[in-house]
Symmetry: none
Amino acid sequence: MARIVQKFGGTSVGDIARIKNVALRVKAEVDRGNQVAVVVSAMSGVTNQLVDYCTQMAPLHDAREYDAVVATGEQVTSGLLAIGLQELGIQARSWAGWQIPIISDDAHGKARIESINGAAMIAEMEKGHVAVIAGFQGIAPGNRVSTLGRGGSDTTAVALAAALKADRCDIYTDVDGVYTTDPRIVKSAKKLDKVTYEEMLEMASLGAKVLQTRSVEMAMKHHVRVQVLSSFSDARGTLVCDEDEIVEKALVSGIAYSRDEAKVTLIGVQDAPGIAAGIFGPLATANINVDMIVQNISRDGTTDVTFTTPRADLERALKVVKDSMKVPYKSIDTDKAVVKVSVIGVGMRSHAGVAQTMFKALADKNINIHIISTSEIKVSVLISEEYTELALRALHTAYGLDAA
Amino acid sequence: MARIVQKFGGTSVGDIARIKNVALRVKAEVDRGNQVAVVVSAMSGVTNQLVDYCTQMAPLHDAREYDAVVATGEQVTSGLLAIGLQELGIQARSWAGWQIPIISDDAHGKARIESINGAAMIAEMEKGHVAVIAGFQGIAPGNRVSTLGRGGSDTTAVALAAALKADRCDIYTDVDGVYTTDPRIVKSAKKLDKVTYEEMLEMASLGAKVLQTRSVEMAMKHHVRVQVLSSFSDARGTLVCDEDEIVEKALVSGIAYSRDEAKVTLIGVQDAPGIAAGIFGPLATANINVDMIVQNISRDGTTDVTFTTPRADLERALKVVKDSMKVPYKSIDTDKAVVKVSVIGVGMRSHAGVAQTMFKALADKNINIHIISTSEIKVSVLISEEYTELALRALHTAYGLDAA
């Protein structure tokens, strides 16, 4: 007997027929003799509707109330799936975040799980009951409902798998695994059988969108084996696991991209010690993510500082820069039509020349690079958005990833 | 400073614009220097949608899961209204049933409130915060969400008003008060300034539909002053209160009617001691409401027994009669085209002749009475449904209720 956590996203539970289909998939796992906990998202469209209601009530609204409203979407799905399982003769019950409880911090709207007290749930699972958990939520100090932010149901599933010491965490989604790059853009993209946590982390945070970053970090930390697979096919998925489990490591595993980027350049910043702190301190205080940062060489005692933020944060970032920043500058330039393209692979740790291959492939297509950023297992460049497809195809070929 | 509980039903919070309108009404009460707790229903249509989802998953479903699903509707509204109040500069927070907590029994789907621990909420209200409460729900044993059944938000409001020792409980609805009869049928119907709990109870249970019966019972028990008023106008509503508060008591306060009736006649029932128990015992066991009962004088050792049930229960009642009843009878006759018309007034306690006025008024219009039933403060008759309007108008005039 194994203990399995399954997670079904919004598309997989998009309507009543699909929730019934999910009930059948859960039953198949139960029929194999396994203990099963199922984490569900809100039915697709529901979360957007609820977020929209909050925004209509007030463009800037109390995150605690937002959480109280938005968390209901998952609660509905969990109750419905429990009914669906019971209809198939399986004992099941729903659990809202506060019922388990999943304890989170008070960063409402993007809370982090602090602990899960799975005792009550485990007791019921050991009696053969399937636990159906409303994903994406917890309970914050003051007995308030919290949400973990978009995509947070993945995090719920992985945290739960860790708390339950589950043998595997199966993330059912609308893609059937992790590909070498976006197969909608590059027809020759291949599905990966296995990928390491580190690689997946880079792919997720760079916009591969298959798994939420935080869930992968958590899986890595707790060594939770995560399988990404499709709820609409029976094909084997991609296993995200420790490097040890992967025998043959590729130099480059995949090419990821993220359109969710905006570039901000502060022109003519007074160059003096502490300017970086002066610029990025207020942004950090305002909880605005800053990703790539470039500071050019100083000319005439001034310098240009460029950074990227998620597009959704751009307006807030500009407001922070204008209102709170003490560092003097001449002007601000912004660009939303940019994309970040990254090559990723644990193999590149021990190989030089990976970056050079990238720069050459892009240069061959006359694609101008705005910013470069590198880490141990990835090289990222910011380029104009219009070159996205061209760049992905060129890089996929350059690293020999095209399917035979 | 007074402490006021306000309750807004599904139509009053039917969309975002209406929730904003409700926020303004709450603000007006706050601006008068009052402490305010607001109970809200789900946005109109939402509860039906959620119930429909449950039924689609399984026609017969676990009431605990039904509750987990359906209770979310009110949680959404409470969060949205809290946001709307904050947008108007008022400190406010939402409270789900389990957060207060409102403790209920475990009769899921139609739970009863056992107690309310208002301490945490009162503490926040005394700091000037408006409490926005998700109506219709509580927390049942085992930490499960419960719902109080349809119309339960009224009960939440009254129970809360009792727990908070509120000065008044204002029930905002889509009508602007309690009328002497249905103004859609009788144009000369007048709005009542005040009505006693007893009268309201008869009107509610007889189909006046303004307040849920259980909420009126609870208001009477705890002496909660309830005002019924419209969320779409500024007109003064009707106060439901103790008889002591009403100086001039009318002989008859109103004429109510209920179309939700079905008549069943058992013809040729063997007349012997215990036949009433033999007939109504099985119906009670099957949880079928029986309202009016008439047993005629015995002829030839047999008698006819007539009773009424809610129309929705008729098929089940007939099945019980046919399957479980031990008392022999010749045949069954049923009639769904009937209406119960009642004249109600605390004043009739001390006056004879109220029933006679009714019978004469109906006789003058050639309306045949099938069944008569009386209580201390009401006289009800069952007549053919086609005479509903004629009977209401005739009685309204006969008791001098027509507006000048």
